[in-house]
Symmetry: C2
Subunit: 457 residues, 2 copies
Amino acid sequence: MTIDAVLQRIDDMLPEALDRLLDLLRIPSISTDPAYKGDCARAADWLVEDLKSLGFDARSAPTPGHPMVVAHGGEGERHILFYGHYDVQPVDPLNLWDRDPFDPEVQDTAKGRVIRGRGSADDKGQLMTFLEACRAWKAVHGALPGRITIFLEGEEESGSPSLVPFMTENADELRSDIALICDTGLFEDDVPAITTMLRGLAKTEFTVHAANRDLHSGMYGGLARNPLHVLAKILGNLHDETGRVTVPGFYDGVKELPDEIRAQWQALAFDHEKFLGDVGLSLPAGEQDRTPLEMIWSRPTAEVNGLWGGYNGAGFKTVLPAEAHAKVSFRLVSEQDPGPVITAFRSWLEAQLPADCRVEWHDEINGSPASVMAITDPAFEQARQALSDEWGRPAAFVGAGGSIPIAGYFKTVLGMDSMLIGFGRDDDNIHSPNEKYDLECFHKGIRSWARVLERIA
Amino acid sequence: MTIDAVLQRIDDMLPEALDRLLDLLRIPSISTDPAYKGDCARAADWLVEDLKSLGFDARSAPTPGHPMVVAHGGEGERHILFYGHYDVQPVDPLNLWDRDPFDPEVQDTAKGRVIRGRGSADDKGQLMTFLEACRAWKAVHGALPGRITIFLEGEEESGSPSLVPFMTENADELRSDIALICDTGLFEDDVPAITTMLRGLAKTEFTVHAANRDLHSGMYGGLARNPLHVLAKILGNLHDETGRVTVPGFYDGVKELPDEIRAQWQALAFDHEKFLGDVGLSLPAGEQDRTPLEMIWSRPTAEVNGLWGGYNGAGFKTVLPAEAHAKVSFRLVSEQDPGPVITAFRSWLEAQLPADCRVEWHDEINGSPASVMAITDPAFEQARQALSDEWGRPAAFVGAGGSIPIAGYFKTVLGMDSMLIGFGRDDDNIHSPNEKYDLECFHKGIRSWARVLERIA
């Protein structure tokens, strides 16, 4: 038998797969709201039952928050862990939905059929693509496609407080050869992608103090130090004229993109004008000698996320404030570590403080390094070919500018790399009213996992 | 008869003068609070009666707000206008007062006897020094010391909404050769001063816009324009390394200090270390080639009074904000005008905006130019000698860093210069709980006006 029989089975059984997803979507598993605690447990139980029906040894494992779903099944040389999350975002503002968020349905739209409902794309629809692939495989082959552990979280939308403790306590049970994570999107509407680079994050908050009280600018202006000027001057120098961060040592450990990845990214023909145009911008504002994709995927950044001081109410107050405040964060890549980056920033800033100013740092150094997958593992190339076969467009190894904490935890807690493969589209309205998942993405997502599992499991 | 008889009379009658002041202080004429409207009128009436007792033709003139007190009396070549205000600041927080703010008394303190009560220094005690000087003069000479118009306001502590309309409507009646204003302080505890330079003020508020919404720094950071960086860079360049404002044309019309004034200021031996030390600072932060007194009295400034954008709540939000905001004001000197200064600032800022940014200006150009008195009028030197005689220390022509709008209005509406002479001390707690006026200041203030009037009226 070839993969064709499995794919045929998937096509034939799509209506039933859809019914199962709609069932799951009807459970309002909003993890951040204690009123839905019972619903979260119900969603976990629903999944446990479904996994059992696939032959998995499955359980709902309690945590101080919402339960984890853990299941094991199948045989194979390579032990694969699959991660998704069954909890969903709140639905406010409810009046912007065109129907009850937990009364999902398949709708015909100008762009095709969509599954409308909270969680359809993030992440119930996506996690079910994997389960449905397993189901079709089992139906055709009589067994799961490989040695598979399923690990489904119920707190992803509320900060994952139980995740690391649970992973640490159950490390031996969860540790696998590779993790598959289905919580990302396609690169473009029909271009599949495997996310192999995730930027890390370091952040710091501080106050620059000058006088011991707010001063009147008539009485003191021109003589006394204004900490807003100090902060503006220092942060105004955070980047040089070419867009490079000026903090000494900031780029230590930053590696150039491998030629293979660079070539793939060029082939993606990323439309940065559209990407920026959608938010009212037109020109890349980062490092001048980098491509737009490098700017958001593979280059580190320093960004002022908040800056404030003095009077910001109605009217005017001619004050020289006693203090000025800022929050600054850094997106990290390659082997940059949060600790040295924040330490370098602090030293750089303190060296520029003029007389009569002092800085107060408000937080411990914290953050997470970048995740860069070792794509030398043949599973990456195998998955890429499988996705290319399904979508008829070459799949790419892409980056993601933001952090996806679970991938970092799999690396740091369990020592394993992750392949992030997902089928969401930019217009899915995740976290917003009228969330949807394209029926095509659900269908081809199931088929994609069958092809991936055939090659790697 | 010489001035000695008048001074003797002042000394002899001080207890009665004090009783009159305490009477006036008992009227809670808080102009900003409508609950005290009747008390404001009562204070005006009290002053009208007192002025009539001195032989003035006095009236309480209604306005849409609180009444003006206007009085005319005496004969002389030089027509002198005297300005003060009978309204007072609110008294909150009441629990920080050691007695009822409107039950004034004379208290013995380690530093001498003080008149404790709201308005004792600002400005009822000060305005009464002038009236008591007139009273003693009249008692000794049988007539007022010259041709005097008294103009007392009841809205100084609440923005003076009626002042300019009233002055404009009654310009012919109020216009005099020179205005005496008693609402300032001594230079040091025993060094009298005549304020001859007041800085003007120009201000502007604006928003720098970039993207059409707040952006996630993971998704867009490194590629999209961050308006906080733009604003920090621009405002960080508002001053060069020597402390000079970098806006082209900003110093147009700024004049160097006359040698005579420079010599006087040097003789004042201003203790800038103490002045700054009191607010926790140690070093002058302004133009490096200027003295501290120049920095606050005779040099223009550009100060950021408020700066804000992005997230400033608890915790962190890795946002690239859509906008960044600032309030910037300028202290003006010599012949600088608010209009050209703001226009130059706007052009300077707009020229530095990078692609995809625009600035929105939130206000009309407004402000007031500096007031620089024509001290060539011999009245200034005469008054200086009179004050030096009374205090035993050479009086100085000083500047004031802040605006005192009335002096500007006398110039622009009535075309006359002002001499600002007052006897307040730094520790008078004006606008604060436990306001006081030193009995010595009240007493020597009365004597000072007698000496000044002898020479100029």
